[in-house]
Amino acid sequence: MSLLIRRQIPIALVFITALLIMMDYFLKLPPLDARGVSWTSPVVKDLQNWGVILTAFALGFGAVNLFILHSRHISRRTVKQWPFSVWLLLMIILFTVVGVSYGATSPEYSWLYNSSYFALSATVYSSLGFYMTSGIYRALRARNVDAVILLVTGGIALLKNAPAVAVNAPFVVSIDSWLNAIPTTSAMRGIMISAALGAIALGIRTMTGKETGFLGRLTEAEKGG
């Protein structure tokens, strides 16, 4: 009984939900309403709206995980960490209080966002550019044929991405266009077709209970089932 509720019903829920959504897309199952719309259509519409709300609930996971982790640091007074943990939790609280009480698009919240989160997020992602530069200098070596191909295509694309070079050396643009349209697109298409096959296989395995990653930790009895 316990196994049925804990493992089989969630898998059945996945199967039914996914099947309903696919049926609504591919088939027009009777009974139809006066406008010729299948019964699956409103059901799927509701399901999708439910999905939006459930995802919104899931957005809080990050904060909960951080609270758990950093509360531990604070209670254990972890050296060189706990004052930062206090600050981190304060930031979560500050954002939440301002955003929820004034509104997510209010000028107050917008001010807070622009002065901290936006600036930090833009800078954090851009800082990878520095590491990449050092990686380029130290690791991009023409050691074998594979690496030479990567270097040559990358080098041509780099030159094309420099606007002044693109204007003054049209042949670089022509070579880049070919590299972009033929080898890059074809290789990416091959990867896409393969990944699509993989995604379909994974979907079917999850629907049939062969893939149970979403269930989280499993007890011994559940693993056996």
Binding site: Q48, G51, T105, L140, L158
Partner: protein, 279 residues
């Protein structure tokens, strides 16, 4: 005792601070003293521009403001230039939503830069934002199936019924064009799966330059009309005749990219020099 290192070995192991320092100089010099390198317009940017330009009056555009703050320096200028174009062209309805959680605030930022009132465009009449909708592909599918069932308010929480722009807007079939600015592969590809495939909505896609290769197969298969990267914002600004951050970056991109090519060459010379000279 310290081992004596040869020239090639020292050249290969230049401290990262030197590499970063030179890079910073390559960034800063053209910012202090602009050179004014020209911006070449690529066929895809031209195609994007023409697609919007040739839309019949009254056409409705769905715009996904789906980039994050991290991608704003690249995609922000592109989004701003495209909005300039839409308003300049006139007679178009731009309905925005966000599949990125930072989208609504970045949209506000972009609108402050565009200043739609200079073109006589009004919120709720010519443009609107219906908010961030969680769930990525679920959100796209939900809005495509029935926009009003998913949300009945705009991003500020005001009822959609009070805005003239929303009259007759029901689902994906109400839109004549889909424009996406995004930093997420889930989003750029998701729109192909949830809108282009079932509803055949014409699709203009602008992503981070690094995401472009993954989107090329869709473009080749005709699922995307024009694919640009945010780094091509300068081209769009040139076409729309509103020079801003995109054009400004042309000088910087030229110098920094040439520096990177030099790094690759010097790095390889050092590697082979060390290999054949024994250090």
């Amino acid at each position: 005792m310290r081992e004596k290192r040869g020239f090639w070995s020292r050249l290969e192991d230049i401290p990262r601070e030197v590499l970063y320092g030179l890079l910073l100089i390559a960034f800063i010099i053209p910012m202090i003293k602009p050179i004014g390198f020209p911006v070449p317009v690529s066929p895809e940017t031209q195609k994007w521009y023409d697609t919007i330009d040739k839309l019949p009056a009254g056409s409705v555009i769905m715009i996904d403001f789906g980039y994050s703050g991290g991608g704003e320096p690249e995609l922000g200028p592109m989004a701003v230039a495209v909005y300039h174009h839409i308003f300049k062209r006139g007679g178009l309805k731009a309905i925005a939503m966000s599949t990125s959680i930072e989208g609504p605030l970045l949209w506000d930022k972009a609108m402050a830069e565009v200043n739609p009132s200079q073109y006589g465009a009004q919120y709720g009449v010519d443009y609107i934002h219906i908010g961030y909708i969680a769930g990525t592909e679920t959100a796209m599918a939900a809005v495509g199936k029935d926009l009003r069932a998913t949300t009945s308010t705009d991003y500020k929480g005001n009822p959609l019924d009070q805005y003239p722009i929303m009259e007759g807007i029901k689902d994906a079939s109400s839109f004549d064009l889909l424009i996406v600015f995004t930093t997420g592969g889930d989003q750029s590809e998701g729109w192909v799966r949830q809108w282009v495939t079932p509803y055949k909505t014409p699709y203009l896609c602008s992503v981070l330059a690094m995401m472009k290769p993954t989107m090329l197969p869709y473009q080749k298969a005709g699922q995307i009309i024009a694919l640009t990267s945010g780094a091509q914002a300068g081209e769009m600004e040139y076409l729309v005749k509103v020079p801003a951050r995109g054009i400004k970056s042309a000088d910087v991109m030229t110098l920094t990219h040439l520096l990177i090519v030099v790094y690759v060459i010097v790095g390889n010379i050092a590697y082979y020099g060390k290999k054949y000279s024994g250090g």
